[in-house]
Symmetry: C2
Subunit: 215 residues, 2 copies
DNA sequence: TAGATTGTTAATCGATTAACAATC
DNA sequence: TAGATTGTTAATCGATTAACAATC
């Protein structure tokens, strides 16, 4: 029931949040909800919620609201949580290991098929039942598993060569914790940059430049 | 030379990226740059760069461009990188440990003054020269160090109690890796939420819903 | 000076909010 | 039916881009 040709990224970035709130509602035994009630819980306007959902079709019922379970399932499908994309992780240092251990990949649309690292101190370690392999094995694993996603937890300097290999193996999506600008070099790639340092600096800014809102 | 009363978050969120690009330019011995040249490197419009920078004052020189080093310093000052905010980290599990090890806090405006965890398996561990303390010690450390920032790497369930303690001790900024909605309960708090799962789902969406841009 | 590039105003574009008719 | 709430169109708001006069 796709209504709009193009969904704006503003809308897309709100979907995972809807998905989380709906999950919680579901867990709390709430079976239906109005856009107004949901808007209050989420700190949005009811209008925005209705606009957002209507990008994908009419999931609600006039005079009644939305069925929580059904809406949760719909949004999951829209986000593609029902089909897992095979992914390789490059770099199993502090950050890579934390991500690999911490992230609930299977419920985020991802299936990890390989962990790689250059350092002999790290290769051979077992993380979540997977052995970290030396990066030389990347080619072979890609040829076998055909990953479409790569998770980059490597330093900026190591990224260009690795990304080049991955692109040639058909990887199209990058979850990028490195500071290498993938899209500059490969405009066709789909990239989600995670710049934790930027986020922390933004917090610092807000703290040190108090908005005189109530002036 | 603050021009605008209110700087929009759209602008603020671009500042750390400018800061990074300017740092790299500086490192590469480039001393001056025009908005056009910078726009090409960053994938923005020159117009936007000039608009952004002019929120804070005229840092450029007509007919000439911007001095890289000077602009870098200015943006650093705007972001508050020159004054470190004392911060405590709650939760030193996988994610907390990775963040603590990985993040260059001193260059992000933050000074870590304490690491806390509930689990006896974790307390006593030394991370970056700091010993992880049991959470019971939080009160004492807050009273002594007066942190203004907290980094939350704890599960959602543990967050309400911890946040309450922190708020009472005067913590105003939260770098929040948990899924607890701090602003809902404390609208006055400054919060940067890091929802890694949301980011990964957004990547998944983009991968599975290819934009027929060139249709 | 002439050429270049900023600072800044005006125009456009896109996202959010408001309003209300449709309808359950 | 009457009341409630959606789906959707219109109005508003804010952010980005374009244009150009100021000026180095």
């Amino acid at each position: 029931m796709a209504r709009n040709e193009h969904i704006s990224m503003s809308v897309v970035r709100r979907l995972p949040r809807y998905y989380r709130f709906l999950y919680d509602l579901k867990e709390n035994g709430i079976t239906r909800i109005s856009s107004r009630e949901l808007s209050q819980r989420m700190g949005l306007t009811a209008s925005q919620i209705r606009q957002d959902l209507n990008c994908f079709g009419g999931f609600g019922q006039q005079g009644y609201g939305y069925m929580v379970e059904q809406l949760y399932e719909e949004i999951g499908r829209i986000l593609g949580m029902d089909r897992l994309s095979p992914a390789v992780m490059l770099g199993a240092g502090n950050m890579g290991r934390a991500i690999a251990n911490h992230m609930d990949f299977e419920h985020r649309g991802i299936r990890l098929v390989g962990l790689f690292d250059d350092s002999p101190a790290v290769t051979g370690q077992v993380i979540r039942g997977m052995t970290v392999q030396p990066t030389e094995e990347l080619d072979a694993v890609c040829a076998k598993e055909h990953p479409t996603v790569a998770i980059l937890c490597i330093p900026k300097e190591a990224a260009p060569d690795i990304v080049d290999i991955l692109i040639r193996h058909g990887v199209r999506g990058f979850w990028n914790f490195s500071h290498y600008d993938i899209n500059y070099h490969y405009p066709e790639a789909v990239v989600e940059n995670v710049h934790l340092g930027d986020s922390l600096m933004t917090l610092s800014y807000q703290l040190k430049n108090p908005d005189r809102k109530e002036a």
